[in-house]
Amino acid sequence: MAFALEKQAVAAGLSDSMVPSPFRVQRVRKETYDTFTLELEPANGADGFPFAAGQFNMLYAFGVGEAPISISGDPTKPQTLVHTVRAVGAVTQAICKLKRGDVLGVRGPLGNHWPVEEAVGSDVVIVAGGIGLAPLRPALYHLLSNREEYGRIALVYGARTLQDMLYKPELERWRSLFDLEVKVTVDTAPASYRGNVGVVTTLIPRVQFDPSQTVALVCGPEVMMRFAVRELESQGVEPENIFISMERNMKCAIGLCGHCQFGSAFICKDGPVFCYAEIEPFFAKREI
């Protein structure tokens, strides 16, 4: 079986896709108590690789294992790979313990990307929950660096508490932009908090967009995305214009092993970004 898969991979020209390249940690920034942003550069002095907003890499903590992590950096600056990692399992905990100068393995870029080209001329609403902001940040970088090509752009972002919010300095900077509407909310807060409190979906009706000409990009916990999609639809956004980033357990990340099967698709190869209209029939099916 293993031999057959190897032959299949070689035949498909995928052998390189299974070999991690060494990358060195250049900088680690603590985002929250359990979430860190790592900046990586090729350890062998090679060039970085181009990637599209929404793609991910397999990060390999040597001796521990691999985990799929979304690329959260700027696609126009591919020399430095940026990943925001939440320490929730053995691999991500090991990655979050890495320091400047440490080396880890990188396979990628993998998967498809947010439809930022297709969204040209439209309003764009970005709905992010928790660490779901990380895969969406490259899309926002793209939209902002090509601002004149889009209509209104809105970012709504929800986190559990203020302490759980990612990219706080950057959020403040985005909020100060005149051509980007940013609304942020937390699920719970003490009375001294002066921002929005409530789930992220309650912010969707509060931002300005033309539902008939809007592309929505959604990423966060799956249950949050279900509620977000419902709200976007109730505002009049067509399912064809709603895109969500899905997650399942991944292993090979190149569509061979089947670990991340989602209906008839593999998240790693056919996703992680899906048009909601295409997965609507089985999106909320608990058996899938």
Binding site: R86, V88, A191, V197, G198
Partner: protein, 156 residues
């Protein structure tokens, strides 16, 4: 002139969108403009609930008090939102506290007056109930999502 302005303001508020003109005129008789300074308490938990508010501008925090945690914000409401439905449901007492987070302008409606009008005009009563049920449904869904604590242990 003031009444005409109030009727226009009510008619433009999302909660009363597309309401019949005759009903709007009835409601205007129970309505007035109000403003709250930042930090001002709008109503307190347990007090009689005889009013409700349509927020025009600003932010209101709906709070409760939890032992060992102090005051906790359950949700914030803003422009276009309705604040308070306890005036419509017995025993007509506020279940939470509401406080203006910033300077807030709203239209306040006299719930006692409205209850009387709803008794007299069941079509108006149904229309109000239908709209408030929609608000309650949305808030219930949001509260359920909050309860799920969805951000625990998710993706990187």
């Amino acid at each position: 002139m003031a009444i005409e302005n109030l009727e226009r303001i009510l008619g433009e508020h999302p909660f009363f969108k597309d309401l019949k003109r005759s009903h709007l005129q009835l409601l205007t008789g129970c309505a007035s403009n109000v403003r709250f300074k930042a930090g001002e308490v709008i109503f307190r938990e347990g007090e009689p609930a005889n009013l409700f508010y349509l927020i025009r501008h600003g932010t209101v925090a709906v709070e409760t008090f939890a032992p060992n945690r102090g005051a906790v914000i359950i949700q914030t409401l803003g422009e276009g939102d309705l604040l308070g439905w306890s005036w419509l449901i017995e025993p007509y007492r506020w279940r939470f506290e509401a406080r203006a987070v910033e300077l807030t302008r709203a239209v306040v409606l006299d719930g006692t007056c409205l209850r009387g009008k709803c008794e007299e005009d069941h079509e108006l009563g149904y229309e109000l109930m239908r709209r408030i049920a929609h608000v309650i449904e949305n808030r219930l869904q949001a509260a359920r999502l909050q309860l799920l604590d969805v951000y625990d242990g998710v993706r990187s």
